[in-house]
């Protein structure tokens, strides 16, 4: 069974690697956005799915990465791949600055503070016009690189999932879960919960940072409202809750199912997909708070590698 799954996964990866040779322009762009969502959902899962600290402004790292990369490309002429990696570094630095005070807050206070910080950064970016172009946005020199961005996004999605695998199957990951389960008991059992939360937070920022840089390059134009939208944070959260928070493959499953569904619906009815998202949140919270894989894991006592 295990070997069968592993081979199926390898075939899937090979298929995805070869896809740009056969795929249409639309297909490639669809896939690269799907990879982006997998990376975002998986990253949110690292902090919020494992420690239970719900980050309600996680897109702030995406925006940070997007602006870091866009400024490096537009003003300093950096190659986009290097600029995107710098976006990941920028996101980690931001996570350090935010995490130090905010991770001392508990439960809903942390969620609200993240929501607020996302808004603060959005406004700050609009304010520093000289560097960021302010509200009128920042344009990048045009470049056709969809296929290269497809591979880059795919690698980031794969890397973040591999990271989730390593974390969840390690004692470090179990300790993160103890914070979700009972933070006071975790402290009493010798776990330095603040330090663990901070590590998870830093790990959860790097993926969105890189992906933000890649998305900026892909779209060639960014503005504050396009890279710090609350709806993207909510989408990440819904994807993870739907697929199964705290599992390795839940965020991937949630991203694949919801993004595909969203794409199918929104090409026909522009506004209905938001309604659909709202409905899914309600259904998931009411009937399967653990998400698809969470339910299966609990019911059949599956190992943590799902």
């Amino acid at each position: 069974m295990k070997r069968w799954l592993a081979s199926a996964f390898c075939v899937l990866l090979l298929g995805l690697a070869l896809y740009p040779m056969a795929g249409t322009g639309y297909g490639i762009r669809f896939m690269l956005q799907l990879f982006m969502w997998i990376a975002l959902a998986q990253s949110w899962n690292l902090i919020s799915g494992l420690t239970g600290y719900v980050s309600f402004g996680h897109i702030v790292f995406f925006g940070m990465g997007a602006y870091t990369a866009a400024i490096l490309i537009a003003k300093l002429g950096w190659p986009w791949l290097l600029a995107s990696l710098a976006g990941g570094v920028g996101a980690i630095v931001l996570a350090m600055v935010i995490g130090w005070p905010c991770l001392r807050l508990k439960g809903p206070y942390f969620a609200i503070s993240m929501l607020g910080l996302n808004e603060v950064l959005r406004v700050a970016v609009s304010y520093f016009e000289g560097l960021t172009g302010g509200g009128s946005g920042l344009s990048l020199p045009s470049l056709y690189a969809s296929v290269a961005i497809y591979y880059s996004m795919g690698i980031v999605a794969l890397a973040v999932t591999a990271l989730a695998y390593v974390v969840v199957t390690s004692r470090f990951g179990l300790r993160l879960m103890t914070i979700r389960e009972d933070e006071i008991a975790a402290e009493a059992m010798g776990i330095n919960t603040f330090r663990y939360k901070l590590y998870a937070f830093l790990l959860s920022a790097v993926g969105p940072g890189i992906v933000g840089g890649l998305a900026a390059r892909d779209q060639s134009y960014i503005e504050p409202v396009s890279v710090f939208p609350l709806i993207m944070t909510i989408t990440m959260i819904v994807m993870v809750l739907f697929g199964g928070k705290g599992t390795i493959w839940g965020p991937v499953l949630g991203a694949v199912l919801l993004f595909t569904l969203q794409e199918m619906i929104w090409s026909r009815f522009i506004y209905v997909h938001q309604l659909l998202f709202g409905a899914i949140i309600v259904i998931v919270v009411l009937f399967m708070p653990r998400g698809i894989l969470g339910v299966l894991q609990q019911k059949y006592n599956l190992p943590r590698i799902i």
Partner: protein, 239 residues
Amino acid sequence: MTPSGLRPILEVDRVMKRFGGVTAVDRVSLGLEPGRIYGLIGPNGSGKTTLFNCITGVEQRDEGEIRFKGRRIDGLKPHQIFHEGIGRTFQIIRVFPELTALENLLVVTTNDYAQARERAQELLRFVKLEGLAGEYAGNLSYGQQKLVEFIRVLMTDPELILLDEPAAGVNRTLLNDLLDAVRQLRDRGKTVLLVEHDMKVVMGLCETVFVLDHGEKLAEGPPGVIQTDERVIEAYFGR
């Protein structure tokens, strides 16, 4: 110094803790000698759990000093106090429900994984739960969860173990196992301080009993003496 002249492993020195206008612990002093079992009793709301919380850093004491092996531990964080060698259980069970019984134990130590696993299996056998190692802790019975919480403390072999109502809600068979386990710990030189309402347990197990009432230490002595102390009887049953 304690009555027998041994250097105490834990010294609680005039510790005070207030919550608003309520003085939950009022200048309480205790000295625990190594290798003995102590009981902490008192009516509901007398400050037993608050004192536990002050010792383990879950609450910050307002006044007084707490020393463990001669070193001050008041002001340290709970995780630091744990690594000093003080383990505790909670009155209300605090296992990690979505971790398996085995994982509940593995998260505690910093030993290498193979060593930690071996120790965990050994402890699970010790309380006869080896068959449930892979079960989610939240699916275990109340008594089994209590045992998991108890052995979780033992993963790092702490020198002082604080047990908050270990007997509550545990059936007789399990309870006898648990009490045997506590005696074995004492025989290996560990010190145990337990809060307990079940007087049979306290009288059968403890060598010295401290009585708290309204946050103050009312009496201290061997269980037989405490049982007949008029002030203690009054605190429990009224005049």
